[in-house]
């Protein structure tokens, strides 16, 4: 492969940026995760000491051993995967009818409904979460309404529960699920559905044998778009979740800010990278998935 000077320069500029500001930071995180916390600036001991020009390894893998020993970390990690997975599924169930109705609407209605899905996506997610808090809190609209109707005498605790976390993730990430679903359902050949109906298939039969299999790429894309960021979510569990069952993102944040244990925070980050991002990148580059999508 002949690589001209100009071509190298064009590749080189973004390459070097990403190398410095994306790849190198992870090596630094790894080095920090081998140190120990200490009272200094910055607050950790280095993994290497220099004898003149010769580096000598003085770090240890103690932090990683610590992560496996204290079950706080495993529980937070598995809990995050569970919450993100459950919320992704709920999001799919809510989004599917919306995408279907948009795809079957007249062109004018379709544009209006698509705008209605995109609008919240462009609005600050933090402000949307705050709007939902206004409904769910103790003195919020739902509790006030329920008490006014006489359904309950006391406000129901909805904030600081797993329910609130699930609901908020569905609410926040819904547009990310609807849009890819819509784009596959829109391309769905309507004559297939008519043929199935002519041959006497019932509604749910058509759904299971034609609509669902053909919309799989959109389902897959939507689920990944919701699941991946939801696992590492920090804001939603912090504002809506219970303090005693943090998600892994909150654990990292807590180690970093409250405990000022940067090496353990770095080890949690490396663990998230190894258990979440690397499997996804491998999955993405596997030919099986690429053929399907």
């Amino acid at each position: 492969m002949r690589e001209g000077w100009g071509k190298r320069a064009v590749i080189g500029v973004p390459f070097i940026w990403l190398l410095i500001f994306f790849l190198v930071p992870f090596f630094i995180v790894f080095l920090v995760s081998l140190g120990a916390p200490q009272f200094s600036v910055p607050p950790y001991s280095p993994a290497f000491e220099w004898d003149g020009w010769v580096p000598r390894f003085v770090g240890s893998f103690d932090n990683y051993v610590f992560l496996t020993e204290d079950d706080l970390y495993w529980r937070a990690y598995l809990g995050s995967v569970q919450i993100a997975g459950g919320a992704t599924l709920m999001c799919l169930l809510v989004a599917w009818p919306m995408a279907w109705v948009i795809a079957r609407a007249t062109p004018t209605w379709r544009n209006v409904l698509l705008l209605a899905v995109i609008l919240p996506f462009w609005t600050s997610s933090l402000l949307r979460i705050y709007a939902l808090m206004g409904l769910l809190r103790q003195g919020g609209l739902i509790n006030t309404g329920l008490m006014w109707l006489g359904i309950t005498d006391e406000p129901i605790q909805m904030m600081q529960t797993d329910f609130a976390v699930y609901l908020t993730i569905v609410f926040t990430y819904l547009p990310l699920m609807v849009l890819p679903l819509y784009s596959t359902l829109e391309k769905l050949d309507g004559t297939l559905l008519e043929a199935a109906a002519d041959l006497g298939a019932r509604g749910w039969q058509t759904f299971w044998t034609i609509t669902l299999p053909l919309s799989l790429p959109g389902i897959l894309a939507g689920c990944l778009l919701v699941f991946i960021p939801a696992v590492g979510e920090f804001v939603i569990p912090d504002l809506m979740g219970a303090q005693d069952s943090p998600m892994i993102g909150n654990v990292l944040w807590g180690e970093f800010t409250r405990n000022r244990d940067w090496p353990v925070a770095a080890a949690v980050a490396i663990a998230m990278l190894a258990l979440l991002v690397v499997p996804f990148m491998l999955l993405r580059s596997s030919p099986a998935l690429r053929g399907e999508a």
Binding site: E3, W17, L18, I28, L119, L127, G134, L141, A269
Partner: protein, 268 residues
């Protein structure tokens, strides 16, 4: 049945926003009490210097980082869809897609540790500031812009570029004269995407910002954590208003252009 479910889905998206808008005009300090209509919270918002300063910082960061991200993201998208194989292509592809799937806390922590190490080694950047937030946002912004540009380039007839090359045009001239005008709409949507993501980010900015460079989400977050603050309702209403106006204007312009294109096609 399915329509009813869809309506419920849209209700989930919009009921909280509608309540936020209505309560932004509530005269009462308490969320559960309706104290009559008032624009009091808009006035308080306008006289809140912390919010205004943070909004300026956020806009500055978003414009700068979206612009850097669009330039680099366009290069990346062009390289990935036009350059074929080159050495280290695997690494390059991985580095351009990974920022999209990286958990925010991990990105934030890694960049903070990088900036601290760089300061120790080279004395730059001195502390955390708007500069460090811009670098962080530009890095994930370019990954998203690259995806948008790649999608646009994939659907564009390559033979025009090849014809220009056969006629002796230099690569830079082909890029400026043909590729860039064709991908211009993607450039705009990519910039807007990077801009919005930057305005939306709380976690990464919290890691890499310093004193005096608090962004708007950081200020809102600390207000929300402290409890009910009705002026956030007013701020939310303004943001929804701006986004809605922009989206509707954009949709109208797009449909006008589409209609014009169709008419000129019919004539020819």
């Amino acid at each position: 049945m399915i329509r009813l479910l869809a309506i419920l889905g849209f209700a989930l998206l919009y009921v909280p926003l509608a309540v936020l808008i209505i309560y932004s005009f509530n005269a009462s300090q308490l969320v559960s009490v309706w104290g009559g209509w008032s624009t009091r919270w808009y006035g308080e918002l306008w006289s809140n210097d912390a919010v205004l300063d943070a909004a300026l910082v956020s806009l500055q960061v978003a414009v700068l980082s979206a612009s850097i991200g669009t330039i680099f993201g366009t290069l990346i998208g062009y390289i990935l869809s036009r350059f074929g194989g080159f050495r280290l292509r695997m690494l390059f592809t991985a580095m351009t897609t990974a920022p999209i799937v990286m958990p925010e806390v991990v990105t934030g922590l890694s960049l903070l540790l990088l900036f601290i190490s760089m300061e120790q080694l080279f004395g730059w950047p001195q502390g955390r500031s708007v500069t460090t937030i811009v670098i962080a946002h530009a890095t994930f912004g370019m990954a998203f812009v690259a995806v948008v540009i790649q999608a646009r380039l994939a659907g564009f007839d390559r033979s025009i570029e090849e014809a220009a090359r056969d006629l002796g045009a230099r690569p830079v001239r082909i890029f400026m004269g043909i590729t860039l005008p064709v991908i211009a709409p993607a450039l705009i949507s990519g910039w807007l995407l990077a801009f919005t993501l930057s305005l939306d980010d709380l976690v990464i900015a919290s890691f890499v910002s310093g004193q005096g460079s608090s962004t708007l989400p950081m200020v809102i977050y600390s207000k929300v954590r402290l409890g009910v603050s009705p002026d956030v309702n007013a701020l939310g209403t303004l943001v929804i208003l701006v986004v809605a106006t922009g989206l509707i204007l954009g949709a109208l312009i797009m449909s006008r252009a589409e209609a014009r294109r169709r008419r000129s096609q019919d004539r020819s």
